[in-house]
């Protein structure tokens, strides 16, 4: 993908849309178009705005345009034995940086290394008023101004068209290995909570199909010592497992049924939504198929101290995708939306009807 700076073009489009109150649907490569409430509006394709703007391995910082493919970023980082610490899911080879940040999704490494928003240092975007705004910066420690860069993460484009992102990156671990142990689900969950309390170089803990997999990352000696502590056996297919988990390519995900995502405290007991469940994030992320009514799923997740998302609906899903906000939060969401996008032209309704 060639380097291409199209922000001038986007500015014109958004300004003109603002003047005409024309609604826009921001699109990358469409790999995550299933995510969020449907938006009916004029498409704004940002996937051609691409290229790595700067990358200095000794700074642990990379800056790239929104349309830059994750494949390009990963390849570039790998040359210096570095990586994106939050292990973002791609859901397709053309996944872009902008889409990744707008969705704010993080992979199996998230509880141990941090989330997409944790690694964001700066975001430049175009507001719904058609202004190009550069928030944050390219340094790790920066407390000047409100942290709007991180506010953009997971906002699904509702606050601005993301044009450029600066991320902190991490060194690749020298050694990575996976241990596998057999458990029933409730024991596995308790084991994950127990293991998480130990000072170990953890980088993934997932349970599916009666097997608890624990990924360890670090130096040779550190990882070997941790293997002794954890026990079990080496999973020779570990690399593949974590990749397939991240990409939803495991058999578990190969289903013509709506997929729920529950983000809950790892300590919450396995809930009564049926047994069709895969645990990631040491038990804090639970992928579930259930026939229960959406309201029951949302309420159960809330009782567990977390929230639910209708992540990938099977077909025409009439309900909202995200857990409802309480009244004070709802008011703040509406006023923030209006502060960035007063006419509501950017991805209207993608999060909630009122945003």
């Amino acid at each position: 993908m060639a380097d291409n700076d199209l922000k001038g073009e986007f500015l014109e489009i958004v300004r003109s849309a603002f003047e005409r109150s024309e609604k826009l649907r921001i699109e990358g490569s469409g790999t995550k178009s299933f995510y969020g409430n449907p938006v009916v509006a004029t498409p704004l394709d940002v996937s051609r705005h691409s290229g790595i703007v700067s990358y200095e391995p000794s700074e642990l910082v990379i800056t790239a345009r929104a349309g830059t493919r994750l494949s390009e970023i990963n390849a570039r980082l790998a040359e210096s034995r570095q990586m994106l610490g939050f292990e973002p899911p791609w859901f397709g080879g053309q996944a872009t940086l902008g889409g990744t940040i707008a969705c704010g999704l993080s992979g199996p490494r998230r509880p141990y290394a941090g989330s997409a928003r944790d690694f964001v240092l700066g975001v430049s975007c175009i507001s719904g008023k058609g202004e190009y705004l550069a928030f944050g910066g390219q340094v790790i420690k920066n407390v000047a101004g409100y942290d709007v860069s991180r506010l953009m993460v997971g906002a699904l484009g509702a606050l601005g068209v993301i044009c450029e992102v600066s991320l902190k990156v991490l060194p690749q671990p020298e050694v990575e290995t996976t241990r596998v142990l057999e458990f029933d689900k409730e024991t596995a969950r308790a084991q994950m909570v127990r293991i998480c309390k130990l000072p170990l170089p953890l980088s993934g803990m997932s349970f599916w199909g009666g097997l608890l997999r624990i990924r360890l990352s670090g130096t040779e000696n550190g990882v070997r010592a941790a293997e002794q502590t954890i026990g079990g056996e080496t999973d020779e297919t570990g690399v593949e497992y974590w990749h397939q988990l991240r990409e939803h390519e495991l058999n578990f995900f190969n289903r013509n049924q709506s997929l729920w995502r529950l983000s809950v405290p790892a300590t919450a007991p396995v809930l009564g939504l049926g047994d069709d469940c895969l645990l990631d994030w040491g038990g804090a992320l639970r992928w579930i198929y259930t026939d229960h009514a959406p309201q029951t799923v949302f309420q159960t997740a809330k009782k567990m101290g977390g929230h639910a998302t209708m992540f990938r609906p099977d077909n025409g899903w009439p309900n909202g995708r995200f857990s409802a906000l309480d009244e004070p939060s709802k008011g703040i969401h509406m006023r923030l939306k209006s502060a960035f996008d007063p006419k509501g032209i950017l991805n209207p309704g993608i999060l909630y009807a009122y945003v």
């Binding site: 642990l60 101004g145 506010l151 000072p199 000696n221 929230h307």
Partner: protein
């Protein structure tokens, strides 16, 4: 005259209402009793508030804010008052809301590795309360024995271990926040993410401008079994800077990586006898933590890297006592400089690490040009510079000259792609350099974010974001003869 009478009336009404909420012992109106609240750690700015109110519960904070909102009275929230940018400077027409009475650790969940605390709990008290569980709270600003967790959230505080463990924003899960109109808002949750916009990120580091933090759910980490320190000496600061880049580029993420230049080294050595090589142009202190096997491997690699980068000497702290001694020097750097100069002024810029050599040369040139000495201590791992300008406030014009030099150094930080504040916050001190760093449209957007949460600008008005009309006067961290408030605290 009429408006003066009105002011008195409003003041009396406010005092009466606040008394009925929190009780007589929790409202301060007497001028002498107000005096200790006139400034925070930035003593160059002082102001007496109308009154101080010290609520003891969330319910009381909500009532106080409802009252102030209704009467249109500004509210400045204060934690321990250790901040260094004047973020808690009182408003002369407003209430100073001190949260020091809300200092309970509400619960600790060892399985979830979390602690729920009130905002007035000190940073260090959290780690102490969970130590027996093998856990700790990672962010460790140097004032950690006194600074409060509520203040840490307001400033998004860091510390020497941020490169590996992150800032406050990376180490909290949930906040309870009282809005300007007294509503109780929960942002974040016990889970790792939440639906909607990331208000937790927005609130963190917002310097008391968007709401009042009344409860914090912090994330706890397992205490690393082993921590070790290696020190290295270099004959130029540029070479030391390159060694920092070589360590990070070499795939090592140290728990802490600190640098001091020769001026700081000799000041420190005279003061605490940390065993630093006084003939070095710069030293690096690199701490690694984790499993014993891992740390041993990495310490050896860091030592090799330092040697290959031309270190004139390296020393590995073999025991706890030596490690503490190495760190004692770094932690005492500010008081040590305070001993050799009547006054000093602290800068808090961050730069991309690769610019370190260039920036140091420029600072040295500026130092000569202004005829003021500058000692440099850095959180080198994350590029956060604390140049200390040495001056004497008793010499006419020297403070102004110092402020101008400080401004030039911050300009330099922005020029090379950095920021005007890495960890101390903007407060009132850095309003002017904020204008350097951000475009007008961005500053305007910040004001609109503020208006979305605080439409009448009653929360900490005038701080953190300069108005477009006029960038505020440039201030200074004025430290006269080493006399900071809380001068017994370790700093930076």
């Amino acid at each position: 005259m009429e408006s003066a009478t009105q002011d008195v009336q409003i003041r009396d009404q406010l005092a009466t209402e606040l008394l009925s909420i929190v009780g007589a012992d929790a409202v301060v109106t007497d001028n002498e009793a107000l005096r200790p609240f006139e400034c925070d750690g930035l003593t160059a700015y002082r102001e007496l508030p109308l009154m101080v109110v010290l609520p003891a519960s969330i319910a009381e904070v909500r009532k106080v804010l409802k009252t102030c909102s209704r009467l249109g009275i500004p509210v400045v929230t204060r934690g321990a008052g250790t901040g260094l940018s004047g973020g808690a400077l009182p408003n002369p027409d407003g209430v100073l809301l001190s949260l020091t009475r809300m200092k309970r650790i509400l619960s600790v969940d060892a399985d979830a590795k979390t602690a729920r605390v009130e905002p007035g709990v000190t940073n260090l008290a959290i780690s102490e309360a969970v130590k027996h569980l093998g856990l700790y709270y990672a962010p460790d600003p140097s004032s950690q024995i006194a600074c409060s967790i509520g203040g840490n959230v307001a400033e998004n505080s860091g510390g020497v271990h941020c490169l590996k463990y992150g800032l406050t924003v990376h180490n909290i899960l949930e906040l309870k926040v009282v809005t300007v109109d007294g509503e109780l808002l929960t942002v974040g949750s016990e889970a790792l993410d939440s639906p909607g916009f990331d208000l937790l990120a927005l609130m963190t580091g917002s310097e008391g401008m968007l709401g009042v933090v009344v409860e914090v759910l912090v994330k706890l980490l397992s205490i690393p079994p082993v921590a070790q320190v290696v020190m290295a000496a270099f004959d130029s600061v540029e070479r030391a800077g390159e060694a920092v880049a070589a360590v990070i580029g070499g795939g090592i993420l140290p728990a802490g990586l600190e640098m001091m230049d020769s001026y700081a080294i000799s000041a420190v050595e005279d003061f605490v006898k940390a065993g630093y090589p006084v003939d070095a142009a710069a030293i690096l202190l690199c701490e690694l933590d984790g499993h014993a096997a891992e740390v041993e491997e990495q310490i050896a690699r860091v030592e090799t890297i330092f040697n290959s980068q031309g270190a004139t000497g390296t020393w590995v702290a073999k025991d706890r006592a030596t490690r503490d001694r190495f760190w004692s020097g770094r932690k005492a750097a500010f008081p040590a400089v305070g001993r050799i100069s009547p006054d000093y002024y602290c800068i808090d810029g961050t730069i991309p690490r690769r610019q370190l050599g260039k920036v140091l040369v420029e600072i040295s040139k500026l130092s000569n040009e202004f005829g003021l000495r500058v000692a440099n201590v850095f959180h080198a791992g994350d590029g956060n510079l604390h140049p200390l300008i040495l001056y004497d406030a008793n010499n006419a014009g020297e403070l102004e000259l110092t402020e101008e030099l400080g401004n030039r150094i911050l300009e330099l930080c922005v020029e090379v792609g950095g920021t005007v504040t890495g960890e101390h916050g903007v407060g009132v001190e850095k309003l002017r350099p904020m204008c350097l760093q951000f475009e007008d449209a961005v500053l305007e957007q910040f004001h609109q974010v503020k208006a979305a949460l605080d439409p009448n600008s009653l929360l900490n008005p005038g701080k953190a974001v300069p108005t477009l009309a006029r960038c505020a006067e440039f201030g200074a961290m004025h430290v006269h003869r080493g006399q900071l408030p809380h001068s017994d605290l370790e700093r930076f």
